[in-house]
């Protein structure tokens, strides 16, 4: 099994992710440079957090035009697993692999904090080992994380069970004061209709090492291992 992590100029969570993948799956992890088009036979590709191309124009807008993204879009359209975290989520929305957009946080702040999330579905390759009644603590760090989509798209996401996570408090009560950025329907992450493309603003890779005092993210990597083993 082989994982790939895409690296753009301005990516800054790439090595956290590579480390978390190696530590929690024991599998080979390769770097996919933005100027390359070769997917190197990866089974699962990650788009990490950061500020690709300096967030010029809009977050993720320039990254979607890079050579590697052409290959990633093709890979995803053929059913390959792709997951974007933070800036990676923004890039997947810009590239059209996921619906909606991530807007400036409604409080105008760069929000950097530990954040509780409630899993909304376990019927995906990245959430199958999660407990739907538990509040998971994942760090968030973004200025543009306010998930927005028109009403029709939101209804579709809800109806198809495409919401991965909602922002909640430590008792898994969703929404209200716990929503850190004004995301519609308290959405922290979604998947596509084919359930092979995933995007989330919070960072599971920052909570997957005992030395960091937070291991809530490990369940995501465990889920991925389970789904790759059976697929």
């Amino acid at each position: 099994m082989k994982f790939g992590v895409v690296i753009f100029p301005g990516s800054n969570c790439d090595h956290d992710l590579i480390d978390a993948l190696k530590r929690n799956t024991g599998q080979e992890v390769v770097e996919l440079w933005h100027k390359d088009t070769d997917m190197q036979g990866c089974d699962f590709v990650f788009i990490p957090g950061g500020f690709s191309y300096g967030d010029y124009l809009r977050s993720g807008a320039i990254a979607k035009l890079s050579p590697i993204m052409t290959s990633v879009v093709e890979f995803a359209n053929n059913g390959g697993y792709v997951m974007g975290i933070c800036n990676g989520f923004q890039i997947l929305c810009e590239s059209g692999l996921l619906k909606g957009a991530l807007l400036r946080n409604n409080n105008q702040l760069f929000v950097c904090q530990n954040q509780y999330l409630k899993p909304e579905t376990t019927a995906t390759a990245i959430t199958n080992k999660l407990d739907r009644d538990k509040a998971y603590n994942f760090p968030i760090a973004h200025a543009e994380g306010r998930y927005y989509a028109d009403e029709e798209t939101l209804d579709e996401l809800e109806a198809n069970n495409q919401i991965l996570f909602r922002y909640c408090d430590k008792h898994a009560n969703v929404g209200g004061e716990s929503n850190p950025n004004g995301s519609l329907n308290d959405i922290a992450g979604i998947c596509n209709e084919g359930r092979n493309v995933f995007g989330m603003m919070p960072h599971p890779e920052r909570g997957a090492d005992p030395k960091l005092g937070n291991q809530d993210g490990v369940a995501i990597f465990e889920s991925i291992m389970v789904s790759l083993a059976v697929s």
Binding site: A101, R104, G182
Partner: protein, 83 residues
């Protein structure tokens, strides 16, 4: 023929514009109380060498739709000038 295109990209009307809201608040602090709302977008200038005004407009449309504007969150309008 040389053309200059001035493009305005604005947040969709239905969207909350927190930046505009914060600036509006600042203007009120200055005592400029007749201002009812503020919305902030971006302005992009393109310089083109195109066979006609229509061709310049067509290329600008393409530029907006393919990269400069995300229709989920923004809308645009532009004006073309002979340069």
């Amino acid at each position: 023929m040389k053309y200059r295109v001035e493009i305005d990209v604005m947040p969709q009307k239905a969207l909350l514009d927190p930046q505009g809201k914060a600036v509006h608040h600042g203007l009120e602090e200055l005592g400029l109380n007749n201002i009812e709302s503020v919305r902030i977008g971006k302005h992009i200038t393109l310089h083109l060498d195109a066979p006609s005004r229509e061709a310049a407009a067509e290329e600008t449309e393409q530029a907006c739709k393919k990269l400069l504007v995300n229709p989920v969150m923004e809308h645009f309008e532009f004006e073309i000038f002979e340069d």
